[in-house]
Symmetry: C2
Subunit: 108 residues, 2 copies
């Protein structure tokens, strides 16, 4: 019946996945993997309101995936847990396999 400890462990882990479960946040992680950026740079690239971007970043920060540091007027974010990049290969594989299978179904 799934004891409370297991339940709690899974809930905490689910939060990490939840943090990555948004296109803009994936984009941010990819960018930050290349180089640290201030909020303004990411805002520019994504093209949403800065407040929106800031909130996304705080979700990633809350999950422990990125870290921030104030430099003068700007706040710079960096990828704190580069191991999340390892996810992306597998996700790419999943997506590719799905697409191939769907194609096979529709093809004829």
């Amino acid at each position: 019946m799934m004891d409370p400890r297991t339940q709690a462990r899974l809930a905490i882990r689910a939060n990490v996945f939840k943090a990555l479960a948004h296109p803009s946040r994936l984009f941010m992680v990819e960018q930050l993997a290349r180089k640290s950026c201030c909020v303004c740079e990411l805002t520019e690239m994504i093209g949403a309101d800065m407040s929106t971007v800031s909130k996304h970043l705080s979700v990633l920060k809350g999950a422990g995936i990125v870290a921030d540091e104030k430099r003068g007027l700007q706040v710079h974010y960096r990828l704190k847990m580069p191991c999340v990049l390892r996810f992306f290969d597998c996700v790419g594989e999943v997506v590719e396999t799905n697409a191939k299978e769907e194609w096979e179904l529709v093809k004829r």
Copy 2:
């Protein structure tokens, strides 16, 4: 400004993460990694309504993470993309690091 192709690519990938972003679904993936199960077994373990479990499974199936097969009255699900298990090590690492840091803050 994030072109539509990038946008679409990220949205598809985000769906895979979204599928994993729930405690019960993580539990299912872990179980299915050990052995294939029917819906009834997972329902028993999780302790929710069978309809709820069935819906969770269809989310995982929609993301291409699991596959199903009917055997008599039962439907058996299996882990189709075992590479998602590789995520779990990193997620564990993230969670552990977060916990350690939070502890350092509260300690004194």
